[in-house]
C-alpha cells in the first residue's frame, strides 16, 4: 500500500468512526442507534487492520479482526437483546433536543482538537493527525450518557467512550501491548454483559426503563 492510499484509507475509516458518533445523537430509534454502533465497531477494526498492513505488523492485523468481531458483531448483538425486552424502543425525551445535541457535539469536536495539541505535536505522523477524532468520539459518548434517559442509551454512550479511546490507542501507539489490549476488550464485553443483566432485572422486577425512574437513593 503506498503512502497516499494508506492515509486516505485511514482517514475514511477514522472519519466513519466519528460520523457514527454523530449519527447516534441524530437518530432516536434505539435499533438504528445500535446498528450505527455496529458500523462504528467495524470501522474501528478497519483502522487497526489498515495500520497493521502499513506497518507489516501481523499481530495488529489479528487484533483488528478481533475488534471487528467483538465491537462490530458481539457487543451490538448483546445490546440488541436488551432492546428485545423493552417495549419502548425510542429515545422519547432526551434532556437536550436533537439539533442542539448536534451543535454540542460539534463544539466538543473543536474542544478535542484543542486538548490534544501536545499529543499531535509529539506523534507527527499521518495517523497522529487523526487522534482528535478519537477524543471527540469519547466526548460525544460522555455527552450522550448525560443527556439520554434510556438505560440502553447509557450503554451506547459508554461504548462510544470506549471506541473513542480504542481509536486513540491505535492511532497514537499502534496499539498498547497485546496482553493489555486483550484485557481491555474482554473487560468491555463483560461490562456490557453485566449492564445487560442489570437492565433486564430492573425492567422485569420493577418495570424501570428510564433512568429518571432511578430516584430511590439520594441525600
Amino acid at each position: 500500500m503506498n503512502g497516499a492510499t494508506y492515509s486516505s484509507f485511514l482517514e475514511i475509516a477514522a472519519g466513519l468512526v466519528i460520523l457514527c458518533a454523530f449519527v447516534t445523537l441524530w437518530r432516536r430509534s434505539l435499533r438504528a442507534i445500535v446498528r450505527t454502533l455496529a458500523v462504528q465497531g467495524m470501522a474501528l477494526g478497519v483502522v487497526a487492520i489498515v495500520l497493521g498492513v502499513h506497518r507489516r505488523d501481523v499481530v495488529l492485523i489479528v487484533v483488528g479482526c478481533l475488534v471487528v468481531l467483538a465491537k462490530g458483531l458481539a457487543i451490538p448483538t448483546l445490546v440488541r437483546r436488551v432492546l428485545a425486552n423493552e417495549p419502548m424502543s425510542r429515545e422519547t425525551s432526551p434532556l437536550v433536543n436533537v439539533p442542539s445535541s448536534l451543535v454540542g457535539a460539534g463544539a466538543l469536536t473543536f474542544l478535542a482538537y484543542g486538548a490534544t495539541r501536545p499529543v499531535v505535536a509529539l506523534v507527527s505522523t499521518s495517523a497522529g493527525r487523526l487522534i482528535p477524532l478519537g477524543v471527540a468520539t469519547l466526548l460525544i459518548g460522555f455527552f450522550s450518557m448525560v443527556v439520554r434517559r434510556k438505560a440502553v442509551s447509557q450503554i451506547v454512550g459508554l461504548l462510544l467512550v470506549d471506541n473513542g479511546i480504542a481509536l486513540v490507542a491505535f492511532l497514537a501507539t499502534a496499539g498498547v501491548p497485546l496482553l493489555v489490549e486483550l484485557g481491555a476488550s474482554l473487560d468491555v464485553l463483560l461490562v456490557v454483559v453485566v449492564l445487560r443483566v442489570l437492565a433486564v432485572q430492573l425492567w422485569s422486577k420493577f418495570a424501570v426503563l428510564d433512568l429518571d425512574q432511578l430516584q430511590e437513593l439520594h441525600d
Binding site: 459508554l158 501507539t173 498498547v176 484485557g183 481491555a184 461490562v191 449492564l195 430492573l202 422486577k205 437513593l217
Partner: protein
C-alpha cells in the same frame, strides 16, 4: 514466585467454593485464605523491606515494599470482612432471604474480588494494574446488588456506569503515558513496566504527561471516590451487604489510590511536583468540602460512613500532594488505620441494621445502654475515625498536616482543619444521638454474641496498637514511601 502463590490461594479457594454447595466450613475456608494472604504479606514485607524487589514472569508480577504493605492492608481488612461474612451468609440462608446458591455466588465473588485487588498491587506492569482495577468493578457490581432490592439494583447500575467511564479515562491516560514513553529520546526498549517508565521519566514529553496525569487522576480518582466523581460511593456503600461495604470502603478505594501514587511518581519525574500537587490539592479539598456539606444533614448512618470515606480519601490526597517521604509514610499509615476502623464500623452498622431494622439515624437510640458491646464498638470506631488518640489515624493525620505545612501548603492544611472540624462536629452529633440516652423501662441490656464482638474488637485493638507502637511498621512504611519518592 511467592507473589504468584499469593494470587493462586484466593483464586483456588474461590474455585472450591464454586464447586461445593455453601456450608459453614466453606466460610471458614474463605477466612483461612485471607489469613494466608495476611501472613504472606508479612513474609513479603520482611523479604523486600531492605532488599531489591522480587519479580516473577519477566516482571509482570513485582513486589516491592509498597506492594507488600498493600498486601498486608488487603489481608488484614479482608480477614475481618470475610470472617464476618460467614455470619452474614448463615443468617441470610437460614432466614430464607437468599438461597444456598446465592451464598455460593457471594463467596466466589468475594474471593475473586480479593484476587483482583491483590493482582492490582503486585502487578509490575501498569496495563495489568488497569485490568485488575477494572476487574474489581465488574466483580463487585453483583456484590453491591446482592440483595436485589430496587435500591440495590439502582446502586449497582450507577456504580458500574460511573466507574466504567472513570476507568476508561484511566485507560486513555495509560495509553498517553505509553505514547510519551515511545517518544522518549534515546530509549530502545519500551514497555508498560512501571520500573521502565520510572527510568525514562525524565525524558517524557511534559505536554502529553500533563494530559495523561489529569486523565489518570480523574479516572482512578473515580474509583478512589474523590469529589466530584464520588457520587456512586454513598449509594453503593449503603446498599451493599455490610461485609462488602467494609471491603470496598476499607481497601478497594485505597487500592485505586495506590495505582495513582505509582503514576504520580512517574509524572513527577517528568513534570516536577508542582502539577501533580495542584491536581491532588484540588481533588482533596473538594472531597473534604463535599463530605462536610453532606454530613451535616445526613439521616442514614451507612451513608454517613460512606461520606466519611470521601473525607478520608480527600485527606490522603492532600497528604500525597505534599509528597515528602514523611507525608507518604503518613498516607500509608492512614490507609491502614482508616481501612481497619472503617471496616469495623461498617460491620458494626450491619449488626445494628439487623437488630434495629433501620438505617435511619433518628430511629436508633441509646445503643450504649441497650446493647453495650455493639454500641461500645461503634463508639470506639467513631472515635478512631475522627482521628482521636490513641488510634493511628491521629498520628497519620498529624503527620500529613505537618508535611503540608513543611512544603508550603500551610493554607491547604488550614482549610482542611476547618473542614475537618465541621465534619467532627456533625459526626459527633449524629453519633451522640445514636449512642447515648437512657434505656427504656422494661428493656434489658442485650448481649452481642462473641463471634460478632471478638473480631470487631480485634480490629479496633489493631488500629490502636499501630498508633501506639511505631515498631515494626515504621521501617516498612519508610521503605514503602521511598519507592515512590525520589
Amino acid at each position: 514466585m511467592l507473589a504468584f502463590v499469593l494470587l493462586l490461594v484466593p483464586a483456588a479457594t474461590g474455585c472450591v467454593a464454586a464447586a461445593t454447595p455453601w456450608r459453614r466450613w466453606i466460610g471458614w475456608l474463605c477466612t483461612a485464605s485471607l489469613g494466608f494472604v495476611l501472613v504472606t504479606g508479612v513474609v513479603l514485607a520482611v523479604l523486600v523491606v531492605h532488599r531489591p524487589a522480587l519479580s516473577a514472569f519477566g516482571g509482570v508480577l513485582r513486589v516491592d515494599a509498597l506492594s507488600a504493605f498493600m498486601v498486608i492492608v488487603i489481608g488484614a481488612i479482608g480477614l475481618l470482612a470475610v470472617c464476618q461474612s460467614v455470619r452474614y451468609l448463615e443468617r441470610e440462608v437460614s432466614s430464607g432471604r437468599s438461597s444456598a446458591r446465592r451464598a455460593t455466588l457471594y463467596s466466589v465473588l468475594v474471593q475473586g474480588f480479593i484476587t483482583a485487588m491483590l493482582l492490582a498491587v503486585v502487578a509490575g506492569n501498569v496495563g495489568v494494574m488497569w485490568v485488575a482495577v477494572e476487574a474489581t468493578t465488574i466483580i463487585t457490581t453483583f456484590l453491591v446488588g446482592y440483595r436485589r432490592t430496587r435500591g440495590a439494583l439502582e446502586a449497582s447500575w450507577k456504580y458500574v456506569i460511573i466507574c466504567s467511564v472513570g476507568i476508561a479515562l484511566a485507560f486513555l491516560g495509560t495509553v498517553l503515558v505509553y505514547l510519551a514513553a515511545l517518544h522518549a529520546g534515546g530509549v530502545t526498549h519500551v514497555s508498560l513496566q512501571w520500573t521502565s517508565l520510572m527510568s525514562v521519566a525524565h525524558h517524557l514529553d511534559p505536554g502529553v504527561m500533563r494530559l495523561a496525569l489529569a486523565l489518570l487522576v480523574l479516572g482512578y480518582g473515580t474509583k478512589v471516590g474523590l469529589a466530584p466523581m464520588h457520587s456512586w460511593l454513598p449509594d453503593a456503600h449503603s446498599q451493599a451487604p455490610a461485609p462488602v461495604s467494609a471491603l470496598m470502603s476499607g481497601v478497594l478505594l485505597t487500592v485505586a489510590f495506590y495505582v495513582l501514587l505509582r503514576f504520580k511518581a512517574v509524572a513527577d519525574g517528568a513534570l516536577g511536583v508542582g502539577f501533580s500537587r495542584m491536581l491532588f490539592v484540588t481533588a482533596g479539598l473538594l472531597s473534604l468540602a463535599v463530605a462536610a456539606s453532606l454530613l451535616l444533614s445526613q439521616r442514614d448512618y451507612k451513608r454517613m460512613l460512606a461520606y466519611h470515606s470521601v473525607e478520608h480519601m480527600g485527606l490522603i490526597a492532600l497528604g500525597a500532594a505534599a509528597g515528602t517521604p514523611l507525608a507518604i509514610a503518613a498516607v500509608l499509615l492512614h490507609v491502614l488505620g482508616h481501612g481497619l476502623a472503617k471496616a469495623v464500623l461498617f460491620l458494626a452498622s450491619g449488626e445494628i441494621l439487623i437488630v434495629e431494622g433501620t438505617t435511619e439515624i433518628d430511629q436508633v437510640k441509646a445503643l450504649l445502654a441497650r446493647r453495650p458491646a455493639l454500641g461500645g464498638v461503634f463508639a470506639f470506631g467513631l472515635v478512631a475515625l475522627l482521628g482521636l488518640p490513641p488510634f493511628s489515624l491521629f498520628i497519620s493525620e498529624l503527620n500529613m498536616l505537618r508535611a503540608e505545612v513543611h512544603v508550603g501548603l500551610g493554607w491547604v492544611a488550614a482549610i482542611s482543619l476547618v473542614l475537618m472540624a465541621v465534619i467532627f462536629g456533625s459526626v459527633m452529633s449524629h453519633g451522640r444521638h445514636m449512642l447515648f440516652g437512657a434505656r427504656p423501662d422494661g428493656e434489658v441490656a442485650h448481649k452481642s454474641p462473641l463471634n460478632v464482638s471478638v473480631p470487631l474488637i480485634g480490629g479496633l485493638v489493631a488500629c490502636g496498637a499501630i498508633g501506639v507502637l511505631a515498631w515494626p511498621l515504621d521501617t516498612l512504611l519508610r521503605a514503602a514511601a521511598m519507592v515512590v519518592v525520589k
